[in-house]
């Protein structure tokens, strides 16, 4: 999607909303040290967030920048680099902007604050990420097995769990 076409489309469609880079600037002033915005375009911005700052940033984005919808919460297991990663994608219908927040966690004790109290949509995403990777979400209402049968102890999506015959 060339940038020019997006600009025309943006002006026509979202009169009231703020564009991605304006939102990114607001966040940079608001959270100077905890959050580093890596890239910001018209309707996207990408940020690296520390574990402790996530809930504060999420509250700010929900209240002031009206991000209403959690597109997805996904876990990534970096076995070689000895870390776990949780990737949030949060969308704002009013501004038509989608934000990608990446949080790094130590691999031995992966824990992060749950954003389910803010957005109900993240409930099952976080539950599935725990079910598959073992990342604990503090404050999640019902952290239990979702897709795997109830008895499983292993976290199947971790890189060290080999599933079936490899091709």
């Amino acid at each position: 999607m060339s940038e020019v076409r997006k600009m025309q489309q943006r002006i026509g469609l979202a009169p009231g909303g703020k564009t991605g880079d304006v939102l990114a600037q607001e966040i940079i002033q608001r959270f100077p040290q905890g959050v580093t915005v890596t890239k910001a375009t018209l309707n996207r911005f990408y940020a690296q967030v520390d574990k402790g700052m996530l809930l504060k940033l999420a509250n700010f984005m929900k209240e002031h920048q009206d991000f209403e919808h959690v597109t997805s919460v996904g876990g990534v297991d970096w076995l070689a680099e000895k870390k776990m990663q949780v990737v949030y994608h949060i969308t704002s219908y009013a501004n038509k902007v989608t934000a990608e927040l990446v949080v790094d966690l130590p691999r031995d004790k992966p824990e992060v604050d749950s954003i389910t109290p803010l957005w109900g949509g993240a409930n099952w995403h976080e539950r599935e990420t725990w079910d598959m990777f073992g990342i604990v979400f503090i404050g999640h209402p019902k952290l239990e097995r979702l897709l795997n049968p109830d008895g499983t102890e292993v976290f199947p999506f971790r890189k060290d769990f080999v599933s079936g015959r490899r091709v």
Binding site: M1, R5, Q9, L13, A14, N43, E68, H69, V70, T71, S72, G74, V76, D77, V87, H89, Y93, K96, T98, E100, W119, G120, G121, A122, N123, W124, H125, E128, R145, L146, L147, N148, P149, P156, F157, S163, R166, V167
Partner: protein, 361 residues
């Protein structure tokens, strides 16, 4: 009457897929609902880590088998963002036509499932009969009825067959003559209105917060559609309108999907007229650098489909995260169900077009 847990499922009419709704019942009214899924979980994302980029396209077809074209297209879009490939103009038009045809086919299968749930076998068979016409079109184009393996990273597999426009316009004219039949069977029958109106209420606030997307969100009055607000392919060069209903109940969701079928016909007709000549595919690089990430989201017939991929240095993805719209809508099911009768559950869950293949991945 004492509180009683009731299991509805896992044996459900064939088209919804397998899930089990545990419902706490006080007499006939539902006080608590808890969907149990996982009956179709095959660890799809884990399997993609064993496959090469091109091998994942047929796998993506089998994510949600009701709208397999839209999922394999979403995967190709994500990979094009990752490998920074610009798809030629003609391929974009073909993709839009095929996506909209798949949307009509998927909405027809949803109407058929709704018919079985509400007890009318006729409303099951008429949409299935129309869906056969669209499956024939797709078969001429891609060779298969349901799992097409048609989009490629960087374009589409083959060009359109001879008299492609004639077949499409003929089917669309026939289909637009038949759509009033379904409305006669459903909208004008008071039994259908009695069963569908003011049940499964989901306010706009609840819908946005619980992550419900697509026709179910537009049924609650929120005017958001990924095709218009974050356009991909050629949706911004075709003028069409987003169908939104205000009454937030099961009937509103039904109305949105019926109007969307008409809009899709309109989009296909415009795309066929404006389709330029030219190449249909571009050579894409074979490997992606390790740690490079990309994502894309599309308007799947059931909601906002989303994929996030991380390169691995060779020609296999390191991680491929899929967000299925119905996975979230089913998690919002208790909000729609509590307070209504057990007999209303099929109508409510029928109005939410469920496809459990993508929910369980």
């Amino acid at each position: 009457m004492a509180e009683m847990w009731l299991n509805m499922g896992p044996q459900h009419p064939m088209t919804h897929g397998l899930w089990n709704l545990r419902v706490k019942v006080d007499g006939e009214t539902i006080t608590e609902a808890e969907p149990v899924i996982g009956y179709l979980h095959r660890g799809w994302e884990k399997l993609t880590e064993n496959r090469k980029f091109a091998q994942i396209i047929p796998m993506a077809d089998r994510l949600c088998y009701g709208a397999s074209m839209s999922w394999s297209h979403l995967y190709c879009l994500t990979m094009e963002n990752l490998l920074e490939v610009e798809v030629p103009e003609r391929a974009k038009y073909i993709r839009t036509i095929v996506l909209e045809a798949q949307r009509i086919g998927s909405h027809l299968m949803w109407l058929a499932a709704l018919g079985t749930d509400l007890g009318s076998y006729t409303v099951f068979l008429y949409p299935v009969r129309e869906r056969e016409l669209f499956l024939d079109l797709m078969q001429n184009l891609c060779g298969a009825r349901m799992t097409y393996n048609y989009p490629r990273i960087g374009g589409v597999r083959n060009d359109v067959p001879a008299n492609f426009e004639r077949d499409f316009t003929r089917v669309l004219n026939h289909f637009e003559k038949r759509l009033p039949d379904y409305e006669a069977l459903c909208d004008q029958s008071t039994v259908f209105r009695m069963r569908m109106e003011d049940i499964g209420y989901l306010s706009a606030e609840q819908a946005k917060n619980l992550g419900v997307t697509g026709p179910n969100l537009r049924g609650s009055g929120v005017d958001y559609d990924v095709r218009r607000d974050d356009p991909y392919e050629v949706y911004d060069q075709v003028d069409w309108k987003v169908c939104v209903e205000k009454t937030c109940d099961a009937y509103a969701r039904y109305r949105v999907k019926m109007d969307e079928m008409r809009e899709s016909c309109n989009i296909i007709r415009q795309c066929i007229k404006k389709m330029p000549k030219g190449a249909i595919r571009v050579k894409a690089p074979r490997t992606a650098p390790r740690g490079k990430t990309a994502w894309a989201h599309v308007e799947d017939p059931r909601g906002e489909g989303f994929m996030y991929v991380i390169g691995n240095g060779d020609d296999q993805p390191y991680r491929l995260k899929v967000r299925s719209p119905i996975f979230v809508t089913v998690s919002a099911a208790p909000a729609m169900l509590v307070g209504y009768k057990v007999a209303d559950v099929p109508a409510i869950m029928g109005s939410v077009d469920m496809c459990l293949g993508e929910t369980d991945r």
